[in-house]
Amino acid sequence: MLRFMTLVKRDIGNLLSSPVLFLYNTLLPILMTLILGFLGNGDYSGSGVNAYDYYGISIMVFMLLNVSVTAANTFMEHTLKKANLRVIHAPIPRSWTYLSKIASTSLFTGTCFLLMMALNAFALGVDYGGRMVGYVIALMLAFNLMSAALGVLFCCIFKSEEVANKILSFITAVMAIFGGMFFQLDGFGPAAALISRLSPARWVLDGMFHIVYDGSLSDFLPALLSLLGLTALCVLGSKRFFRTEDYV
């Protein structure tokens, strides 16, 4: 376990040393929440709920999708790729190579998001559920993990970080728009509502809103279990597609 943590510590160090990645996971969500919340406030009356509340949650879910991009970066960014070869030849299980990337990315981004939630709650008054905030955090962390696993999986499949990055950025943005992160899509009719239900981001968004605004946990367990299930699938997929010869 100690050896695994050594890998994880090194990976986190790499993440911290890349300014763009760091800013991407901290500054960007804060900026987006501020700007969109500020502009969107024209739509809401002051009845206790405002645009910041909506975007406080939806931007977070959107950035959680982007964790996959960060994960892909930790794994195969070309300056890091060769280092994986040394890890592969160390006397540890081969799977630790990609498992440590999933773990380090989740730890790093998980912490970023917890900080962001705290900031949003205290500075912008975003409602994260009060006493039920634990459930919201649980969903957030589960989705975080799943995104990281997805990013690593795509890297294993496409064998190149640039390609995985591009595909993930694109999928993320499209899933976000058609999943209703930035503006509510349900009003566009049943067909639109159905399509947006296909994305896990939507389940998390719905789940969180139900917990915070209805006090209802009916979505929580199904969403949590589905996310964990998808994570397991991604890890299994990584195992299947990961080949040591790709690092030579």
Binding site: V20, K166, G187, D206
Partner: protein
């Protein structure tokens, strides 16, 4: 010229060598365009109201709103998520209460519409199908631009750019070639899907094919110019991609492609006017080409400026060895 052609042709050879990702990306582009066409063809922009009451309620038909009859008050999250803009509870005998999270204006409008059903309701025409579709497409095509100019960032890293830039055609010729190959791929895929939507699936896509060709050209041009610029400024490919997609996303949303951020702050409105996306939206929503001529000029000038800047910076970076 020969440098331009060489890079242009070579790009396609490189794309052929990695068919997997290219097909996938083009597939996503096609799927997004199809989704946009599908979503956009439905242009109803009426508000959605949940009515709690009996089927013979007097308020079952409120002009200008889609009314859904429900048995009990829907949870607050439905309003947050946008399923309903407001909830009306029919108290019987013409009494009713309106609950909404949105602005007071909506509440007022709804009340008026209910109390005077003969008055024409919120008959905001909304955008036409074509404008809707193109609005969705702005982001899609911007992101695709970033993807397909990735070869450029790669060449930066591998030193191939230095070699090509030292030839007589220079960095400018190289950049044009990168832009052109990206343009061809993006434009042809998007256009083909629109054609398919129109002829195979008989969707109402709003504009004629010629108009689509024109609008898509403008859009793709802008996208390619923007991504070349971002790729020139940023060093590594991932930085370019992360930065480029974030900026594209944020500016497109702000420009109001999806949701009109009608704010009462003139300073902000003025700032937003700078965004080319806003000009594009004005262009496609405008009925008359002559009226929107300034937008058209801006949309042609901005990409040219961006490409020129990219060439300038690329040259400078090469000389200083960045």
């Amino acid at each position: 010229m020969s440098g331009f052609l060489a890079v242009f042709k070579n790009n396609f050879r490189r794309y052929r060598a990695m068919p997997g990702p290219v097909v996938l990306m083009l597939g996503f582009l096609a799927a997004s365009v199809a989704l946009a066409a599908f979503f956009g063809a439905n242009t109803s922009s009426k508000g959605n109201v949940a009515l709690v009451g009996e089927t013979d309620s007097l308020m079952a038909n409120i002009p200008g709103y889609n009314v859904t009859l429900v048995n009990e008050e829907p949870p607050v999250s439905d309003m947050m998520l946008g399923r309903y803009d407001a909830v009306v509870v029919d108290g019987g005998d013409g009494r009713f209460s309106v609950r909404t999270l949105k602005s007071r204006d909506l509440e007022e409008e709804l009340r008026r519409a209910i109390e005077n059903p003969t008055v024409a309701g919120k008959e905001s025409e909304g955008r036409g199908a074509g404008a809707n579709i193109l609005g969705y497409l702005i982001l899609v095509i911007l992101l695709q631009g970033i993807t397909f100019t990735g070869l450029y960032s790669e060449d930066r890293g591998s030193g191939a750019l230095k070699r090509v830039a030292s030839t007589p055609s220079g960095a400018g010729g190289y950049l044009l070639a990168q832009g052109a190959s990206g343009f061809v791929l993006i434009f042809s895929s998007a256009f083909l899907v629109i054609c398919a939507a129109k002829f195979l699936f008989r969707l109402d896509v709003g504009f004629s094919l010629a108009e689509y060709a024109g609008y898509l050209t403008l859009l793709t041009l802008g996208s390619v110019a923007f991504s070349l610029f971002v790729a020139t400024i940023a060093g590594k490919p991932d930085d370019a991609s992360a930065m480029g997609s974030s900026v594209a996303l944020l500016t497109t949303i702000l420009a109001g492609s999806y949701h009109d951020f009608s704010s009462s702050r003139p300073v902000l409105d003025a700032l937003l006017k700078v965004l080319p996306q806003k000009s594009f939206l004005n262009l496609v929503e405008g009925a008359n080409l002559l009226h929107t001529l300034p937008e058209l000029i801006y949309l042609l000038a901005a990409p040219v400026l961006l490409i020129a800047l990219s060439a300038f910076f690329a040259d400078r970076k090469l000389k200083t060895g960045a």
